[in-house]
Amino acid sequence: MISVFSTIARYLLDVYYGARSVWSSCITAIPYLFSAGDFRKEVTEQYPDPISSRTADDLPPRTRGLLYNHIDRCTGCKECEKTCPTQCISIKADQGAEDAKLWVSKFDIDFSRCIFCGLCAEVCQPQSLVHTKQYEGAVYELTDLVASFGRGSVTNEQREKWASLRRAVESDEVFL
């Protein structure tokens, strides 16, 4: 007899718990309906709406966005090319006007391979290769993902002019 009553009691208790948990779940969601308090506001960012969504300027300073190379500062040391885990950087540097600085004729970054790890910008001594905050890199063609920062290939007369200039400098005929 006791077992019968205890079974019935357990059954009723089960039903009661079910009803109560449904009720508590519904009550939990109520404050959101009126977005009460600071913790229960809507969080959707309607990209690319500049008012409600974050733009590139709102990103933190260390954001690793698309890469950009200040070609004027670039020395063509190829450290980034060596470091890059995915070989997405390809550099071609020629003998430039001043013997210290190379003429970076080709500096291509293939963003279809870049994993934005930030190692290249880390090893860049002259701080020429930097991460911008830009993240919108969608294009229509895969080849458009290759960003080239090089100065373009060197023409022969340029090369001869520089070579003569270097010779002149070495033989102290002219003073720069």
Binding site: V22, S25, C26, T28, A29, Y32, R40, E42, V43, T44
Partner: protein
């Protein structure tokens, strides 16, 4: 009390539609069905779909539809148009045609029985309250057939689950309906309306606690019977890719969703009519309008009041469905057989005792 009573159902419609005396009844019936379907059911689907999406977005700290129209009000219409203009890549098999036939039959057959007001009753028989059962069961049958017709594992499992739920949920719903009819002394829509008043105190649900219990059982068993979230094991997303609706798209999907919504809407309307005062306007407005004799206003206000109650009920159910996890099909059927059925029988007995007590007291 009013001069339209005693005449056939077509009189009210003829007056409302402004048709001549000589108009045949089939014409009046056709126009009436078209009016009900186009002016009540489809807009209700739009309205409830919008409320569902917007309110669930608010519950979930989202924004929800906000592009199509003011506050995204036209989003359901946009979805419907998108579904309709999708091209069909599979041809309809005879199975799907069969399913479509059953489905459409269930979808349209009860429009005539739909209680939408004191005058809009196309059919008001002694068994009116039972006809929607037939409709919902056939709807479940059509859903099962459609699941089988896809020839895929999700469709099969979903179809079997839908059938099991329909069988499990029909019994307690029937018993709860009996207790309501016991209170009303009949199963005519007009009988249910006659015993209820405008104010919640005079609704059947609050006549006695057993009736309230019967109403709760009726609503929940309707969810089980029609497979409405969170009791929609036949359409569960994670394990079956949406079960019965897994391989539906385009027009088929829109038709399927419309059928599901119609079942939901039908059930809510019946619940309101049986337990929640039906279409009786509050503050004795019905009586005054009837004596005033302006039937169009009477019917319009009754319809608005009925639909308002129905929408609020549906919104509450949607809210419950959004915050609660989905149950397993064997748990749902266990719940229907082991919890809902005993409680419905308990409510029936209690309602019978109350009714008998009332009769005895009236005799004394």
């Amino acid at each position: 009390m009013n001069e339209l009573s005693g005449l056939s159902w077509s009189a009210a419609w003829r007056v409302a539609l402004g048709l001549p005396e000589a108009a045949p009844q089939w014409l009046i019936a056709t126009i009436g069905l078209i009016c009900i379907y186009g002016l009540v059911i489809l807009p209700s689907g739009w309205m409830v779909a919008y409320l569902d999406r917007k309110l669930s977005a608010d519950f979930q700290a989202r924004v929800g539809p906000n592009r199509a129209g003011p506050a995204g009000f036209f989003q359901p219409l946009a979805d419907l148009l998108k579904l309709l203009q999708k091209e069909t890549v599979q041809e309809w098999s005879w199975r799907e045609g069969f399913w479509l036939g059953v489905h459409t039959m269930a979808l349209y057959s009860t429009v005539a029985v739909l209680p939408l007001g004191s005058l809009a009753l196309l059919v008001d028989t002694d068994m009116s309250a039972f006809l929607p059962f037939w409709a919902t069961l056939v709807l479940a049958l059509g859903t099962m057939l459609m699941g089988f017709s896809q020839g895929s594992a999700p469709g099969w499992f979903g179809g079997v689950r839908v059938a099991a739920q329909a069988l499990a949920g029909a019994f307690p719903a029937l018993v709860a309906l009996l207790s309501a009819g016991l209170q009303a002394g009949g199963f005519r829509w007009s009988a249910f309306a006659a015993i209820q008043g405008g104010s919640p105190l005079h609704w059947t649900a609050f006549a006695n606690p057993f009736q309230f219990l019967a109403m709760v059982v009726f609503i929940i068993s309707g969810l089980v019977l029609l497979g409405i979230p969170p009791l929609d094991a036949g359409l569960s997303i994670p394990d079956l890719h949406g079960g019965v609706a897994s391989s539906l798209y385009g027009r088929r999907l829109s038709l399927f969703q419309l059928g599901r919504f119609y079942g939901f809407f039908l059930w809510s309307v019946i619940t309101v009519v049986l337990f929640l005062g039906g279409w009786i306007l509050p503050a004795g407005l019905s009586v005054s309008l009837q004596e005033g004799g302006d039937w169009k206003w009477l019917q319009l206000l009754e319809l608005v009041w009925l639909l308002a109650k129905t929408y609020s009920l549906m919104v509450i159910l949607v809210w419950v469905a959004r915050v609660n996890p989905r149950s397993r099909v064997d748990q749902i059927t266990d719940f229907a057989w082991k919890v809902l059925s005993p409680f419905s029988l308990f409510a029936l007995i209690g309602a019978a005792l109350c009714a008998g007590w009332n009769v005895w007291r009236a005799g004394v």
